[in-house]
């Protein structure tokens, strides 16, 4: 599973992406974020206020309850400032 990071989150982690293989019990985006944070202190700190982030699955923004598979590309999106 590919994880993409953007903007200040990317800078704080010092990388734009990760390839991860979560355990079988990780079924939703909520589970994934919990698992990623438990395994990465920098990400855990950066996501201390988790609900400010939107998540996308295969280039569509989806709710945190969305189910995921190993073939998905997930992005963690800090609050957007376009326009």
């Amino acid at each position: 599973m590919k994880i993409l990071y953007f903007a200040w989150l990317r800078e704080r982690l010092n990388r734009a992406s990760d390839d991860v293989t979560p355990p079988a019990e990780v079924r939703t985006l909520n589970d994934l974020i919990t698992w990623l944070r438990a395994n990465d202190e920098a990400l855990d700190l950066a996501m201390a206020n988790p609900k400010q982030f939107k998540l996308s699955k295969n280039a569509r923004i989806v709710p945190w309850e969305t189910e995921i598979t190993d073939a998905d590309t997930i992005a963690i999106l800090p609050p957007m400032t376009g326009g």
Binding site: A7, S56, R60, L77, P79, M80, T81, G82, G83
Partner: protein, 147 residues
């Protein structure tokens, strides 16, 4: 028309192209967002980061919703990314409708959603370094009035 690009654009030329061949339209509204530098907060550039695939999908969804909600004849969005200097246009929203209210409302709706739901992130470059622009609660409030 949806364009996500790092290339400069000509706001007037874009509008002319958009307005062509729509004899049924009685109103066109254009909003152009520009890079701003002020004496209080002088910047040398604005750097926009983007997730292009997601931007394309999300902007298409916002555009479709705006056309349906306000019965627009057409709507177009151009958004740039990369390094832009003060005075340069960042983005442009254009709407075409039979009458002015729908054209104005459609353009505001598009802008309000683009501010908070399109995956772009601004970084201000100054003489001393770069700083990420923080999202504003006021932008969320502006979007939420359409719900």
């Amino acid at each position: 028309m949806i364009i996500i690009s790092n290339a400069p654009f000509d706001p007037g030329a874009l509008l002319t192209e958009f307005q062509n061949n729509h004899p049924e339209a009685g109103a066109a509204v254009t909003f152009t967002g520009m890079v701003r530098s002020t004496p209080e907060r002088p910047i040398t550039a604005l750097i926009l980061e983007c997730y292009p695939d997601l931007a394309q999908n999300e902007i298409a969804a916002i555009r479709t919703a705006a056309i349906a909600r306000f019965n627009l004849i057409d709507a177009a969005i151009l958004h740039r990314y990369g390094r832009l200097v003060p005075g340069e246009p960042i983005m442009q929203v254009m709407t075409l409708a039979p009458h002015r209210q729908a054209a104005f409302d459609g353009a505001q709706y598009l802008m309000d959603y683009l501010k908070t739901d399109a995956p772009f992130w601004k970084q201000e470059e100054t003489e001393t370094g770069t700083e990420w622009v923080e999202a504003k609660t006021a932008d969320d409030t502006a979007r939420d009035r359409w719900r």
